[in-house]
């Protein structure tokens, strides 16, 4: 057994007990990256030297008899929109190509304090806007299950890194599905926590009322352990909530007896691939056989989610991205004649096509004369969408849906038509609009051996139930233990 086949939980146990050094664990990951990365391109940068320094420091603490923390010696890949002090943070954008993080994001600080090793920054769609990593200014990440397909996005690099076992766990961010969609397409587990569960301090903001940071892993136990480390109120983020953080790992053994699962009819519609539907329905049956009770439910405003999202997210983005001015950091068209030209050219030349499209869309929706028709209207419909879920959760404990309408697609298939690309997020967006926790886990493969994801949505702050359902399912199915072999299909 090599260190690469360890889960994060096993690795931390081995390191704490002195059966494996943090340095050896880190070396094993870096070696795996060296062999797989030329095909996958999951990373924007790896931190080889800094990672090994961190690992040796952990080993010294263990040798000195100190408690090295819950995540001691576990290498973790970080989406390249989370700040790590002293490391580049590019958001896969030309505008931040040379930017160096000046502080640790709160999730990074908490992981650092728990003994985790940061092995690299992973690729994403520029500023997390996209569903395939094709919008990265640097390169498109490949799906480890089929190198001719995309890994999903925007956190495609973080999902691919875990799927290809280049890291046992990683962090991503999810604004409209950017953790769950790539998790589904890469055959790993991805969790978007409840809005407010995890501090967003140090996450480069996309849409502040929707963004959340969350884990990728191969097991529910690893996701539980990682969430445990990063969750909880933070003075640096006024929207992080002082809600009790339960012991997620200890809660995993819960029985599913009597658990009420809702199947919303609006998520089993035309456009849903029959193979995906079959796998999802079989997974729900498997949960039923473990004692869960399945109920048909309705979320009547589902059809409006995408329209609401594509007003609210670009509006918030257009405001958040106004900080890029070519003066304080980032790409600067310095030869511009005056200040206005400097702003316009730095932004025009520094941002890629999708980012500019969303800034334009958001600026239009917020502009004088249109605000009420678009932004205010979308906020009201958001209320109706949230009320659908409030009502549904009076009768059920969790909701089960497909994570994506289809398995992984090919690059170029959707990139020329923004609306087609946006539709690949159709099942994941409602969760962000309603602020709920959502998890995607592998539940089978298509006949072409592409992974399929089951999405579970929970009540606010009830990540524990989602994780315990995933854990119970894993005990009976080994989808999550299957490892991709890099190949190309027709």
């Amino acid at each position: 057994m090599t260190a690469n086949s360890f889960t994060a939980s096993d690795m931390a146990d081995h390191v704490r007990r002195g059966e494996m050094t943090a340095e050896a664990a880190t070396m094993a990951c870096l070696e795996k990256i060296r062999s797989s990365e030329p095909e996958i391109h999951a990373f924007n940068e790896t931190f080889d030297d800094h990672a090994l320094e961190q690992a040796r420091a952990i080993d010294q603490r263990i040798a000195a008899g100190e408690n090295p923390g819950r995540f001691a010696g576990v290498p973790i890949a970080i989406k390249d929109n989370l700040l790590i002090r002293g490391e580049h943070c590019t958001c896969s954008s030309k505008i931040l190509e040379n930017y160096v993080g000046t502080y640790d994001a709160t999730v990074i600080k908490r992981l650092r304090d728990s003994g985790a090793i940061f092995i690299g920054h992973t690729n994403l769609d520029e500023f997390a806007m996209g569903s395939s990593t094709e919008n990265s200014a640097f390169h498109t990440t490949k799906n480890p299950w089929d190198l001719s397909r995309i890994p999903g996005g925007s956190s495609g690099g973080s999902a691919a890194a875990v799927a290809a076992r280049m890291a046992p766990v990683s962090l991503g961010s999810d604004t409209g599905g950017s953790i769950r969609q790539p998790a589904a397409l890469c055959g790993v587990l991805g969790l978007k926590p409840t809005y407010g569960r995890v501090s967003r301090f140090g996450l480069v903001a996309f849409a502040s009322s929707l963004d959340q940071i969350g884990p990728f892993s191969t097991t529910a136990k690893d996701a539980a352990l990682l969430l445990q480390v990063i969750a909880g109120q933070d003075d640096q983020d006024s929207t992080s909530v002082a809600e009790n953080v339960p012991d997620y790992v200890a809660g995993l053994g819960r029985s599913l007896k009597g658990l009420r699962i809702g199947l919303p009819k609006e998520y089993f519609i035309g456009g849903l691939d029959p193979e995906v539907e079959k796998a999802v329905r079989e997974a729900v049956k498997a949960l039923e056989s473990l004692g869960a009770v399945v109920k048909d439910i309705s979320l009547p405003h589902t059809d409006y989610c995408l329209a609401v999202y594509y007003i609210l997210a670009p509006s918030e983005a257009s405001s958040n991205l106004s900080r890029f001015d070519g003066v304080r950091y980032g790409y600067s068209a310095r030869e511009s004649g005056n200040l206005m030209a400097l702003y316009e050219r730095s932004r025009g030349e520094g941002f890629g096509p999708e980012v500019k499209r969303r800034i334009m869309l958001g600026t239009y929706a917020l502009s004088s004369g249109y605000y009420d028709a678009y932004y205010a209207k979308a906020q009201k419909v958001r209320t109706l969408i949230k009320e659908d879920f409030d009502k549904a959760f009076q009768d059920v404990d969790i909701i089960a849906t497909p994570t994506t309408p289809t398995a992984a697609f090919k690059p170029g298939e959707k990139v020329s038509d923004p609306l087609q690309m946006y539709l690949s997020d159709i099942f994941t967006i409602s969760c962000n609009l309603a602020g709920l926790p959502g998890l995607s886990m592998p539940c089978g493969f298509t006949k072409d051996r592409l992974p399929i994801g089951l999405q579970l949505l929970g009540k606010p702050f009830d990540e524990a139930t989602l994780l315990s359902v995933a854990h119970a399912y894993e005990a009976q199915h080994d989808w999550n233990k299957q490892i991709p072999t890099a190949r190309v299909t027709a």
């Binding site: 929207t239 304080r328 932004r347 096509p353 869309l361 502009s367």
Partner: protein, 97 residues
């Protein structure tokens, strides 16, 4: 839903984005198509619905005004990212012509 070239230029100016002629036409057509899709929101009567700004029942969150010196960026770290600096200052183009 019609978006004109003039609309695009107005919005680009508000957003401080320089766009090429091809980009202007591309975004004009794409904005028209996306906003056309969004029109479906008009089917819903929302006269008596309150807007959701964000999902948390929070207002006026306070914390102690206490610095965490170890977490603070140093002036040098911040200025190291500046495209142009002069001593301990960001260098900015003339604001008043």
């Amino acid at each position: 839903m019609t978006i004109t070239q003039k609309d695009v230029e107005h919005v680009a100016r508000l957003a401080r984005l320089s766009l090429t002629a091809e980009e202007k036409e591309l975004y004009r057509a794409q904005l028209e198509s996306i906003l056309g899709y969004v029109e479906k929101l008009k089917q819903l009567d929302t006269d008596n619905v309150a807007p959701t700004l964000h999902v948390l029942p929070l207002s006026n969150v306070w914390r102690k005004d206490k610095a965490e010196p170890n977490r603070l960026s140093t002036p040098d770290e911040l200025l190291a990212n500046a495209p142009e600096r002069e001593g301990p200052f960001f260098k900015v183009k003339k604001v008043i012509e």
